[in-house]
């Protein structure tokens, strides 16, 4: 067992320890830890020192053992690993303090030859991007920026619905994790109560025959910025914490997100997603039945959204009664 996995196992044991009756963190004896891991108590102590160096507060209680009194509040690679389900495949996770954009970082790592899949998470983005360099407000610690790198060896046309499929999976994750009902605004905005809480951007490199690599990026507001939203964003932005009324544990959420994204990717590649996609989409589709305006380049279309087709195109019933399908465009929902 590597030192790293020993630390992880110790951390998981401390996290899993049943809470004491007064609500304080559970205590695990050094003897029990040593027995579980098959290493000496001195080695346990050394690993605990390593965890302390990483920002965990591990208390030693005389003659009783150890307990985890405090854990890092911001994103933390070891903690994310500890929260992940043991059965799940564990891709490499890179957690960075600050990065220009997690999508760019993932692309650079791919270009440098790092094998996929892997994930890049950041506490801060200096240059978070929406489409075409639009700046995504991201200079706060309360948010989650995650990019996932894959090398799907499939023909480009198969990836058409990828972002949409990922979007409904993120919605389902948020719904179960926060017990709140998010919605998706075609094709890539995640909304809570009509306000934007997140967005997705997939970037792929391909030629005519196949995809070389693909980076799926997600920005999600877990909490409002420390000083509140800039005044211009107040009516349009929100976060999971504001919406649910309680804080969201970024590391637990990240662990669940990583599991969900990798499962969703596998289902997408093997085709099993098709059975679930339409139902999930219909469950989270915010546009269906709404009057919307879609801007595509210099053209504007207005009508009523009626869902998506099996290729992910937005269906729009126009004023003349015809339904047209759209693969791209900026959607604005008309005021009720």
């Amino acid at each position: 067992m590597s030192a790293q996995s020993s630390e992880l196992l110790i951390l998981q044991t401390l996290l899993d320890a049943p809470m004491a009756s007064d609500g304080s963190p559970g205590v695990v004896s050094g003897v029990a830890l040593a027995r579980t891991l098959g290493i000496s108590r001195v080695a346990i102590w050394q690993h605990l020192e390593k965890l302390r160096e990483q920002g965990f507060t591990v208390e030693s209680l005389h003659a009783r053992g150890y307990r985890l009194a405090a854990r890092p509040a911001t994103l933390h690679a070891t903690l994310i690993d500890a929260y992940r389900h043991p059965g799940q495949e564990a891709p490499r996770i890179h957690v960075l303090d600050t990065v220009d954009s997690t999508n760019d970082e993932a692309s650079r790592r791919l270009a440098a030859g790092q094998p996929a899949p892997f994930a890049v998470l950041a506490r801060r983005q200096e240059n978070g991007r929406g489409r075409f360099g639009r700046v995504w407000h991201s200079a706060t610690d309360g948010n989650l920026y995650a990019s996932f790198a894959f090398k799907p060896q499939v023909e480009p046309a198969r990836m058409q619905t990828f972002t949409l499929w990922m979007g409904v999976n993120i919605c389902a994750l948020v719904a179960s994790f926060c017990r709140t009902a998010p919605g998706i605004k075609w094709p890539n905005d995640l909304l809570l109560d009509g306000r934007k809480a997140g967005g997705m951007l997939t970037e792929a490199r391909m030629d005519a025959d196949r995809i070389h690599d693909l980076v799926f990026g997600l920005g999600l507001n877990l909490a409002p910025p420390p000083g509140g939203w800039p005044s211009g964003l107040t009516p349009v932005a929100t976060s999971l914490a504001e919406h649910t009324g309680r804080p969201v544990d970024a590391n637990k959420f990240a662990a669940a997100l990583i599991g969900r994204v990798f499962d969703a990717y596998a289902a997408f590649l093997d085709g099993s997603y098709r059975k679930k996609f339409a139902n999930l989409w219909n469950g989270y589709d915010l546009l269906r039945g709404r009057s919307i305006t879609l801007v595509q380049g210099n053209r504007t279309f207005s009508g009523v959204a009626t869902g998506i087709d099996d290729e992910g195109s937005l269906l729009l019933r126009l004023a003349d009664g015809h339904t047209d399908r759209f693969r791209a465009g900026e959607v604005t929902i008309a005021k009720k």
């Binding site: 360099g133 023909e155 480009p156 490199r205 005519a208 992910g312 015809h322």
Partner: protein, 154 residues
């Protein structure tokens, strides 16, 4: 098929499937099979039906294009769109174009982005040579297999 009416067009090379769909009149036309007038070249049908969108949309940049869709010069090759989407010549409105007329490109050069449903697809040229023409305007929709760039190989 007038450009404004063209809402969907697909060609599959292996097993040849041609799909034409017009959403605006609610009457999709779907054809498949290799029954296009004795031609055994699937792209013959494609070229016969849809050369207009690419060539006409390219008016601002294109020199008068030769009428024949087939390239007489073997060194002329086209970079085609691998998917349906929106064509962008640069990564952001303020950025430089990936490729201009005269740009020398290699097999791995990114020549454009095709966006479809928030997937920004960086398209690699697959050919080495010099860009002669850009056959479509920035921000315009493209169809599967549509010619994007005319390239002189070498």
């Amino acid at each position: 098929m007038k450009r404004s009416d063209l809402t969907e067009f697909a060609v599959e090379e292996e097993g040849f499937k041609l799909k034409i769909r017009r959403g605006s009149n609610g009457l999709p036309v779907v054809s498949s099979g290799g029954s296009y007038g004795g031609s055994n070249n699937p792209f013959a049908a494609y070229q016969a039906q849809a050369p207009a969108p690419a060539a006409q949309a390219a008016a601002p940049v294109a020199a008068p294009a030769p009428a024949a869709p087939a390239a007489d010069d073997a060194s002329i090759i086209y970079v085609k769109s691998p998917m349906v989407g929106t064509f962008y010549r640069s990564p952001s409105p303020e950025s430089k174009s990936f490729a201009d007329i005269g740009t020398k490109i290699t097999e791995t050069s990114v020549v454009c982005i095709i966006e479809a449903m928030k997937i920004m697809n960086e398209i690699q040229s697959e050919v080495k040579g010099t860009v002669l023409e850009i056959l479509i305007e920035n921000g315009q929709p493209v169809e599967y297999g549509q010619k994007l760039f005319k390239v002189k190989q070498g």
